[in-house]
Symmetry: C2
Subunit: 502 residues, 2 copies
């Protein structure tokens, strides 16, 4: 039942005290303060995600241990570069030669993943610094999150004295890279899946929630670029990661779960800069006064902080997701769609009721229903049979095939009175065949405004939507989820326009 | 491409005029007014859903015709009772003997499904009345929804003169019965699935949206009792159906899509009665002024009607779903959970961040976080290791196995300060095994308050959740969707208390 007893017990954190080591904003900065020196190499974190050589310190063959889960994940992964086991008690681990310590490894090591009991972490990290390892991920828990002062100070000191070794953690799940397939999490591969490569990067203050989200992402059609669980953020904090991801070409959108910023001022300044180029969607844990207190009961300044975060997000341009569903749908739409010029949506449909319901969601979420311009209205009037009323929703009626959809989408994309297009398709009507996938994808590739597809149904419909997603079309099952995401996109576009000088 | 051209063209409705024949509330009652005589047999509609003999008038072998799709669905279905083809032009249809008209069928016919061109519908219906057929479903379109007055009046007259034959439609998809497997829709079975039998019945004013929802329901873990697309509601309207379903023992919850009630006063009175026993969840299409006009442009009295519906729903106790996602999640929770005594939720979790996010959703949706009573707090304090803080969220921490979950759930169910329990399980932690399914299910069976499970993840997690659903446990992926549904449940419980007392 309780195979990982030792490790889990050492990880047990007081939940009301936070799942990470999140500091109240403005941050009191218990950890090592950021310095110009340390930040110089922030853009060089590439090696953290694509290391040439990796040492797993604490690699173990012991059933149920974190060191085993971690090392096994490496052995079974698609990560191509060299991985070394470090274990002072064994000659080999799971058939691989084991080194006494990281310094004993003759090759270059870019990354050390440390998963030894807390009391052995300082010496392991010291070894890494001496070996010249540029990045270390400390998976081990047992530091400030359980109120352990001595070990925490010792670790902070080592970090301060060795700026050449950047540290992620402690008390974290580490990273997963969609492209290099580097996976330092110890999640059970039988129970979790890793997402395909994509353009969304996700950073999480909570490890367990992060891994659950990682697992869930694998079921979604959009891919992941980089995943980081940063735990106590003793060295690298959320701001450093934001800054790095902003410069990372493969990251188009940053999604994050945050309870409290490590250094409030730093977070404010960096987030402001990042949002100019890379959209950030943030789910703040502890957004109500009540839960806020739960996440931050170990700091002094509580009052009004949930509101402080709302204001901070608004000011920096961070798009606040109110819940996990929004975190996903906002990230998805930001990754797949261009920014709209306004908030006027045209709904194209082959089902009247579905169109009405979607129009309700469009209006209910604060978007406007577009009015087709005179020219496009005239063009459509000529192209369509009389029973198609030229309105919004534009109901192409039940016998609409891809021709009618094509004409309607073209008109919508050309019409300056339309800022975004929501295409509803009930795929189970006989006039629709698979050709519609290519047709919509063709227009999507040309589109300079958001063009999303919404549909609902079982296998056949889901299959068509998967094909659309493969072609780069963003799809949703629920009109209200789509409309809410488009509203967030439109708001962000407005923020961009305003910050670019109106 | 356009195989069903003839039929679809005849069905083409002006979308801005509504997808059904929805009348403005208060209804102007264009159709046949309800009468005491007609309502007498409303409870005897069982035969509509479980007819002994069915005649398909317009059964056809012609590729792409509605008559063929419909009849084929019958031939391929699990519906066990006799089905007769009626087609005056052929001796047989798809290998089955065809009768010249319904009167020529020697056996008893409980239900006639009419799918002939509009102009032939009156004589077909007259035949049904003469034969003594108790129910007829008119699938055919081409009546008031396209402004066709003459045929509409003729049909209304026949209905008025033959109260022994109750009519569903015209311009509808008809019905599906989860238990008898009767399916009068002509949806393509290759593209749509039918849900398993369950306790939710769904009535829809929109046919196409209704069928899409039917198809989507098949992907959900809760089952369907009866589905009705009632179209123009010339005879049987949404109020009749509500009344019938209220008396139908297999229906625990009624979900509905409505644009406008046929007879406003009747709807108000019947809905009021029904809500005392059977909860109704309604998605109103055209809820904003703008879309409302779109659904009802063919009637005179428009002003304020969206608000009139909100008030009507509040007054009767109908639970209003703002969107399709809510329609599903509300129906699901009403079908699976008892009504809570209050709005205080306890969150049990094995992931701190997940607990915090859920607490945010609980508060954000207007529920309260329960405070454990002193006795249960003391009991839990003794039962759990020190690192488990007795609070809400109650974080059992990462190494919690089913024992800890069991102790926590038992305490929550016993504690009078807890009105509902949200159990979060990150199934990918090694301390969790499949035994937790039986354990939670055991408590669920004993529970007299709502007890739902929320989790997120890929195959393994979804598999565990399916097992839970099979055991009768209601599950959700997103905490906010669960919290929103629980809030609707708590509000409905309050409505019930108020209408039962005071």
């Amino acid at each position: 039942m309780n195979k990982k007893k030792h490790w889990h017990e050492s990880r047990g954190t007081k939940p009301v005290k936070s799942t990470g080591e999140g500091q109240e904003f403005p941050g009191t900065g218990e950890g090592v303060p950021p310095s110009a020196v340390r930040n110089e190499n922030i853009r060089n974190l590439e090696r953290l995600f694509s290391p040439k050589g990796v040492a797993v310190i604490g690699a173990s063959a012991q059933e149920g241990s974190v060191g085993r889960a971690l090392f096994e994940n490496f052995l079974n992964s698609d990560f191509k570069n060299r991985v070394f086991a470090v274990n002072p008690f064994h000659e080999s681990v799971l058939g691989k030669k084991a080194f006494k310590n990281v310094k004993a490894i003759p090759q270059k090591v870019d990354l050390a993943v440390i998963a030894v009991p807390a009391k052995f972490v300082p010496s392991a990290l010291r070894d890494c610094a001496q070996k010249g390892v540029s990045n270390a991920i400390i998976i081990s828990a047992g530091f400030s999150e359980i109120g352990e002062r001595e070990l925490t100070s010792e670790l902070e000191k080592i970090i301060r004295e060795n700026p050449g070794t950047r540290v992620l953690g402690p008390n974290c799940f580490g990273i997963f890279d969609g492209k290099s397939r580097l996976n330092t999490t110890f999640s059970e591969t039988k129970r979790t899946r890793l997402p395909k490569a994509g353009s969304v990067s996700f950073i999480s203050q909570s490890g367990a929630l992060g891994v659950a989200i990682l697992d869930w992402m694998s079921t979604q059609n959009f891919g992941l670029n980089k995943f980081v669980s940063y735990g106590n953020a003793m060295d690298l904090d959320e701001s450093d990661l934001l800054e790095f991801l902003d410069h990372d070409k493969a990251t188009k959108v940053i999604a994050m779960y945050i309870e409290g910023a490590k250094h409030g001022r730093k977070f404010l300044e960096i987030a402001k800069k990042v949002c100019v180029k890379t959209p950030i969607v943030a789910l703040k844990g502890g957004i109500s006064e009540q839960t806020h207190k739960a996440t931050a009961s170990h700091t002094g300044s509580l009052a009004g902080s949930a509101e402080v975060y709302r204001a901070l997000f608004r000011q920096t341009g961070i798009i606040q997701a109110e819940n996990m569903l929004e975190l996903f749908s906002f990230a998805k739409i930001l990754a797949g769609e261009p920014l709209p010029k306004g908030d006027r949506a045209l709904i194209i449909t082959n089902g009247g009721g579905y169109g009405i319901v979607t129009a309700d969601s469009v209006i209910g979420n604060g978007l406007r229903l577009a009015r087709l311009g005179r020219k496009s209205a005239e063009r459509l009037r000529k192209a369509f049979p009389e029973r198609v009323t030229i309105a919004n929703p534009l109901d192409l009626v039940g016998d609409a095939g891809l021709e009618r959809y094509s004409v309607a989408i073209e008109a919508a994309l050309k019409d300056k009175n339309v800022d975004m297009v929501i295409v509803l398709v009930l795929f189970n009507t006989p006039a629709i065949d698979e050709g519609i996938v290519k047709e919509i994808a063709k227009w999507k590739k040309k589109a300079k405004k958001p063009l999303t597809v919404v549909s609902i149904g079982s296998e056949f419909t889901q299959g068509m939507m998967k094909l659309l997603e493969k072609e780069g079309v963003v799809t949703f099952n629920y009109p209200n989820v789509c409309a809410r995401a488009l509203k967030a996109l439109a708001d962000f576009a407005e923020f961009r326009r305003e910050s670019n000088g109106k």
